[in-house]
């Protein structure tokens, strides 16, 4: 495991914990050739608009992690007011609310929670946010349609 040489102890610890004691509905596995780069899979939470969906994400721990937050993006297309067309996520702890006390685990849990609680008042995807406010039922139908098209396995 030469890729682990020079890796901060904190990252090694977090990775071990993620692999040994994964969060239900979430898996995060580091790339073989880059221990700071994770393949992430999040299952859409039960009784949310995203139930039944399997979402792929990528996560990267920059040089200054944990002083700086991880970078995370959805690779699977998703219709969500706080996730844009390129999979970028609007989440305060990934930006100004980040604290080094948070971890990869907390970040992924927060993203899972964001799927349960879309927030159209802080939109990144205006089309989704507008529909969510105007016609929530149709918004949820669209989210489910995206899952059928892109997030079913």
């Amino acid at each position: 495991m030469s890729s682990l040489s020079g890796l901060p102890r904190r990252i090694i610890k977090e990775t071990e914990k993620l692999l040994q004691d994964p969060v239900p509905g979430i898996s995060a596995v580091p790339h073989e050739d880059n221990a700071r780069y994770f393949n992430v899979i999040i299952q859409g939470p039960d009784s949310s608009p995203y139930e039944g969906g399997t979402f792929k994400l990528e996560l990267f721990l920059p040089d200054d992690y944990p002083m700086a937050p991880p970078k995370v993006r959805f690779l699977t297309k998703i219709f969500h007011p706080n996730i844009d067309r390129l999979g970028r996520i609007c989440l305060d702890i990934l930006k100004d609310k980040w604290s080094p006390a948070l971890q990869i685990r907390t970040v992924l849990l927060s993203i899972q929670a964001l799927l349960s609680a879309p927030n159209p008042d802080d939109p990144l995807n205006n089309e989704a946010a507008d529909l969510w406010k105007k016609d929530e039922r149709r918004a949820i139908e669209t989210a489910r349609e995206y899952i059928r098209l892109y997030a079913s396995e």
């Binding site: 020079g6 780069y37 920059p62 993006r73 390129l86």
Partner: protein, 140 residues
């Protein structure tokens, strides 16, 4: 010491954000060709022809394709606007990596922005600045 390697996608997202804020005092610009392209592969760039050259006041469109190995490998670059430049194929508009130093001596610290700025410097180079040019608004 092994430096942290920023993966392709996050590197390209950084470049996208930088491009959105504008670089090079408006002499170049770039962005994704398709705002829905989650693979972040196809990019459009523009170069404003440098003053005191035959390219002055013209805007040149360039396409860049960042493959899976970007930024370890350079993108494929081609002019959409017709141009006569020593490093550009006369028939296809492709920038010849063997004739363009930045692609030839590529390293992963280089970016789309540097390519566009270097192409603009090429336009101003003594061997290019006075070359006869095709009509404005024509395309490869």
């Amino acid at each position: 010491m092994t430096a942290t390697k920023v993966p392709r996608n996050f590197r390209l997202l950084e470049e996208l954000e930088r491009g959105e804020h504008g670089v090079g005092q408006g002499s170049i610009s770039y962005g994704l060709a398709d705002g829905d392209d989650v693979t972040l592969s196809k990019w459009n760039g523009t170069i404003l022809g440098p003053i005191n050259t035959v390219f002055e006041n013209r805007i040149y469109t360039v396409q860049l394709y960042c493959g899976d190995k970007y930024p370890d490998d350079p993108p494929a670059v081609r002019f959409v606007s017709k141009i006569n430049l020593t490093c550009v194929d006369k028939h296809t508009g492709r920038v010849d990596p063997t004739k363009f130093h930045l692609l030839k001596s590529w390293d992963r610290n280089q970016r789309i922005e540097n390519i566009l700025l270097a192409l603009r410097r090429e336009m101003a180079a003594p061997y290019n600045r006075k070359l006869p040019q095709p009509a404005e608004g024509t395309f490869f």
